[in-house]
């Protein structure tokens, strides 16, 4: 029994860290721009396809490919913010529908360029570690470590740089931040680019583990939604807590039953939580 529990916890933490990175980008963009980005999953997909091109086809090394994937996602993110999302700030419904349209467009572009087939790349890391009773696949551990590094970098940025502090200020009160000389438009651009980069890096790290296809962004987006609602929309610590909880819950139910039941279980837990706390575990009360 104890080895099983240990394994469940290890698996839960491993996938939890990946969920956090995905959810963090989503919640960051929402927290600052008050916009829901349904195309967030497509930035994950773009990250994975960039790895497919540079690592799978052009045979660059994996780490370089991941960095390039972040760069591509950041550039795409900055472009769509500048061209589309900025026009829809303050228009909740219109903005959401626009992001749905964008999601369709990005999917279909990937479909035209790469075709509908599910692809895969070689695993850059293989083998397992055995720690105490639990077994850890090294490639999953790499994803978790990559996620941890990104989380630490993100935290440092938000907490200790002027831009990071300005972002927090805009999230709290855009008008007051404006009076203090924070230009919200440039903060929007930076936040959106970083949020997109986070989705891109999640996709890039996951590329060797799952298959790559134009529609691959669907499930990560769903998980990001669940994590973010649980933790509280727009809350960065909430995304971290939510990601860990969902990772552990899914790991337990997926080990004991199967992955569909695990997804249903995490949804039910989210429903129970928002009955008690409508704005999520760490969300601002409305």
């Amino acid at each position: 029994m104890i080895p099983l529990i240990e394994q469940i916890i290890v698996n839960g933490l491993l996938s939890g860290f990946a969920y956090i990175v995905m959810a963090l980008g989503f919640t960051l963009i929402f927290g600052i721009m008050r916009m829901v980005n349904f195309a967030h999953g497509e930035l994950y997909m773009i990250g994975a396809f960039t790895v497919l091109v540079f690592y799978g086809v052009l045979k660059l090394d994996f780490i370089t490919s991941v960095i390039l994937a972040i760069a591509v996602a950041v550039i795409v993110g900055a472009l769509i913010e500048r061209l589309l999302f900025r026009r829809f700030v303050g228009m909740e419904l219109g903005g959401m529908i626009m992001s749905l349209a964008l999601s369709i467009i990005l999917q279909s572009l990937a479909l035209i360029i790469f075709g509908p087939a599910e692809r895969s790349v070689d695993r850059p890391f293989t083998g397992v570690w055995a720690i105490h009773h639990a077994v850890i696949a090294i490639d999953r551990a790499v994803v978790a470590m990559g996620s941890l590094i990104i989380l630490a970098a993100f935290y440092t940025f938000l907490r200790y740089t002027r831009t990071g502090l300005a972002m927090q200020a805009v999230a709290q009160d855009r008008d007051t931040a404006g009076l203090m000389g924070v230009e919200s438009n440039s903060i929007y651009l930076i936040a959106f680019a970083i949020g997109s980069g986070l989705a891109g890096v999640a996709g890039a790290l996951m590329a060797p583990i799952y298959t790559i296809s134009p529609y691959m962004g669907h499930l990560p987006l769903l998980k990001a939604f669940v994590v973010v609602i649980l933790g509280g929309l727009g809350s960065v610590p909430g995304a971290v807590l939510g990601g860990l909880i969902i990772g552990l819950v899914e790991s337990a139910f997926a080990t004991l039953f199967n992955s569909t039941i695990a997804l249903i279980a995490s949804f039910v837990i989210v429903l129970l939580i928002i009955i008690v706390r409508p704005s999520g575990l760490l969300g601002k009360r409305q």
């Binding site: 909740e92 529908i97 749905l100 369709i104 999917q107 279909s108 609602i229 997804l263 249903i264 429903l271």
Partner: protein, 308 residues
Amino acid sequence: MIKHFAIGIVTLAVILSPWVTGGKYELHIATMVAIMGMLALSMNLMLRIGQLSMAHGAFMGLGAYTTALLCMKLNMPPVLAIVIAGLMVGLIAIVLGTIFLRIKGIYFVLLTYAFGEIINLIFQEWVSLFGGNNGLYGVPKLSAFGYRLTDPGTYYLLTVVFVAATYLLIRKIFRSNIGAILDSLEQDEPLSQSLGVNPLSWRIGVFAVSAMLASVAGSLYAFKIGFLSPQAFSFSLSVDLVVMNVVGGALSPIGPLLGALIIVPLPELLRSVKDYQLLCYGVVLLVFLVFFRDGLMGLIKKTQKAAI
């Protein structure tokens, strides 16, 4: 007067055209336009109160599967099955609505999205009941009062009756006091609250009615196609319904019908450029959102004003 007469003639001509040309294929497309029109109208009801539901694909699917299974496994009369499925889906919407609609804003979209995806996963994974990705075969034809509805032309007219009834219902709602209350919820909730309106129960009510309409459309779809597979009820169906509203214009109930009339036959027309179909779709949606926010109906009204 002459204008109304002309609109009536055109509408009648559009409705009757597939029946007159009589091709099986045209009738099939026309029936799908009517069913999708009904769904687009149910989505319109949600958009009018400022809520985007991503669960409507799932509601349609629940209606379709429930109706089919009640007929197939319990030998229930189809009409009774449609009613029971509709009531069940309405009840589900009430339960979900009490949780989902408690907080304003985008939580509703995210939660309906998650709900829709999970229902679709259940359709896929619970193979013994729903047939999984291979689908559920052998849904019987619709029959009522000892008469089996097998002729595609008659079935098409039946769906037209349903979509017309839905249209009249929604028009009636929005021209009545209820419509004023609903509009006030979207525009100024505190004000309507101060006038003694309970926003939550109204929202839940609209959600339930809208879900029931989607369920009935799902039942009609099940009897039409005779075969159900989870893909037909996925997230992208909910998106299609939104697209119909955006392209047609969500401000009047004619908009979504116009949207359905354009969007449903589109894949057939774009068959030669199959790879670019989805891209066209996304780009058209984006163009409408950025440049023609009130859809085709908005454009028509604008040109009318310019003419005067």
